[in-house]
Amino acid sequence: MSEPEVFFVELNGVPTRVWRKGSGPRIGFLAGFGGLPRWIPFLDRLAERRTVVVPSLPGFPGGGRGHAQLDDHLDWVLAARRLVGLAGLDGADLVGSSVGGALAAEVAAIWPETVRRLALIAPFGLFDEAEPPADPWAQRADAVPALLCADPENWRRLKAPPEGADAIEWPIEQTRASEAAARFLWPLGNTRLAKRLPLIQAPTLLLWGEQDRVMPRSYAARFARAIAGPSETRLVPGAGHLAELDRPDEVAAAILAWTA
């Protein structure tokens, strides 16, 4: 696993990290809950066949304190749209997981020409009272890894401070990622995305970890029903909410096939 190329774009005056690796047609990735404090194998799998481009979401690792100036949903959606453009992803395929999935769906709905083909991994954005998603911000600390990944070790590996990391700033950055997601989604994760799903024309792949303990599997059908473009739903065995962490090969293969 080699390191990606790193560059920064300025979003609302905040230098925002973008990773790029590989060659071939571009494909973008908007990260899920917790963000990407480090490069992950899933992105390498994509980079084997494509130019994978990963802009950090505001407040997520690499996104500085960009979340602090986003006060409402319009601010968030515009930030996501601008990030896609600044990262050079206009018209490319777009993948969004979890929190990033909710934003990728908005971009595809409101600016249809921006997204060629779309892949969503257990996206946030809907809420059904009869079957609510888990509340990721109301968890005992020791319960979080198993909530987000089928194998809790995968979450722990994502979040473990690398050698030489700042012992104070590293944990603050991880809390900030959770705060940024909360700023966007608190308290229910319901962004009223349901109203805009019928605007999505892009062919959409819906990926869901079979052991997702955050987002009920039935939500996949809600997405599939509401999206205007053709869609396909695939369960990922052995994967939890952040399926790209639990099953990087399978998730990447499905996406590569969908966007081929």
Binding site: H67, A68, D71, W137, A138, Q139, R140, A141, A167, I168, P171, I172, T175, R176, S178, E179, A180, A181, A182, R183, W186, P187
Partner: protein
């Protein structure tokens, strides 16, 4: 110094096995535990106790705000304060306070506090807490990432609503109101004294200094844990060139007085263990929601000497879970760690004198009712404190002026609520 009598209004009948059978006293405490007819008694007892404290000569009576909480039955302290305003004559009423970000529009707070100030003839102390995570983010669904900004903006709006004489438009980041013009206006000018309960964040200290507000450290863990926080506060005041007027600060302390220390240990064991064992049993799920704590405070919690000096009971930079986990829950530990000051009147007076001097705190907010303490014991504790402890503390800090105390209307100007008690009897006699 000022000795203020504070009521949390705890539900006093949580079951013995509460800790084992129920995950939390807060947020998702089960409704089956609440008996409205029992609570009818509790509210009335509690209000009797507050009124009794006023009768006994405490400098102020204090109430506060909590939501979905088994140890705090005042979602609206303003309702209680309004009732107290009618049933007391002289005693200032400290509402500690209204969590500003929870009110939409926040002018509601300006209005209700103005009403209390007018009804009471200018006896209100206006407390503005941010509010705990449990109250604000979970029970009230406020976004933790925006809570503080909303709080500060709401504060600005309330102060302007109190002080501006013309109708104005408020064009805030979170609040927009075309016509702000509250009616009634507070008696106290420019506005009632503002007190800020806070944790140990340096931003809050600086803000209190800048605004000339009283900073209150309201921890349930007593003077030993509070020492480092108050030291930090005074060090910051020094840095900012502010004087060490002890009336800049308030401090919460549980107290149990009896004839002897042994008797006090016996009398207050049950209510203290009830409070620390059941009332503070909060599920770790309601740990600090992300963004509730500023990054500066997280940094301080992770790195600073202050947190270490404050020791195990420090709240600095800690989430709810961490805070409640390591605390003492048995009477011995509760007293040893200073959560509750117990003893004979002389012993309590001596200890509190030391605490006040060492923390340099001019306003003590005393919890003389706590946990499931009944009305009789509460009266006993209150009276004994008023008669035997208070006189020994009164002279403290007499060379300082308390610029943050209510300035009521003159006695002659104030209304006297009518006394109708005799009327029905007179009618019945006819």
């Amino acid at each position: 110094m000022k000795l203020m009598w504070f009521h949390l209004m705890p539900y006093t009948e949580l079951p013995d096995d509460f800790r084992e059978k129920h995950p939390s006293v807060w947020v998702d405490i089960h409704s089956s535990l609440f008996d409205p007819k029992r609570a009818h008694r509790m509210y009335n007892d509690f209000m009797d106790e507050l009124e009794y404290a006023a009768e006994c000569g405490f400098d102020a009576i204090c109430v506060n705000e909590h939501h979905s909480n088994g140890y705090g039955l005042m979602p609206s302290p303003n309702l209680i304060a309004a009732a107290l305003a009618r049933r007391t004559r002289e005693t200032p009423i400290c509402v500690m306070g209204n969590s500003l970000a929870l009110y939409n529009p926040p002018t509601r707070v300006a209005e209700e506090f103005a009403m209390i100030d007018v009804i009471s003839g200018g006896r209100l102390i206006a407390g503005f807490p941010v509010g705990t995570p449990m109250d604000t983010c979970y029970a009230y669904g406020q976004n933790p990432s925006m809570l503080r900004e909303r709080y500060l903006e709401a504060h600005d709006l309330v102060i302007r609503a109190w002080t501006e004489t013309e109708t104005f438009a408020f064009n805030g980041r979170f609040n927009q109101q075309r016509y702000v013009n509250i009616w009634p206006r507070p008696v106290q000018k420019p506005h009632p004294p503002v007190w800020i309960p806070g944790g140990g964040s340096v931003e809050t200290w600086r803000w209190c200094a800048e605004m000339d507000y009283v900073y209150c450290y309201l921890s349930y863990y007593g003077y030993k844990a509070g020492k480092a926080i108050m030291d930090g506060f005074w060090a910051e005041m020094d840095r900012l060139g502010k004087d060490r007027n002890p009336y800049r600060a308030g401090f919460l302390q549980f107290v149990g007085v009896a004839e002897t220390r042994a008797q006090a240990m016996e009398l207050y064991r049950e209510p203290a263990e009830y409070f620390y064992g059941r009332c503070l049993h909060v599920d770790g799920r309601w740990a600090t929601p992300p963004g509730y704590m500023t990054e500066a405070t997280q940094r301080a919690g992770l790195s600073s000497q202050v947190a270490r000096a404050a020791g195990a009971d420090s709240t600095l930079g800690k989430g709810t879970q961490e805070r409640f986990a390591g605390t003492a829950k048995d009477m011995q530990g509760i007293v040893e760690r200073g959560y509750v000051v117990v003893g004979s009147p002389d012993e309590v007076a001596e200890q509190l004198r030391e605490v006040a001097k060492s923390l340099n705190v001019g306003h003590f907010m005393l919890l003389l009712q706590f946990g499931n303490m009944g009305k009789e014991l509460t009266r006993y504790n209150t009276r004994l404190f008023a008669e035997k402890v208070m006189p020994q503390l009164r002279d403290l800090f007499s060379d300082w002026e308390d610029r943050w105390w209510p300035k009521p209307m003159g006695r002659a100007e104030r209304a006297l609520p009518a006394d109708f008690v005799a009327a029905p009897q007179a009618l019945a006699a006819e």
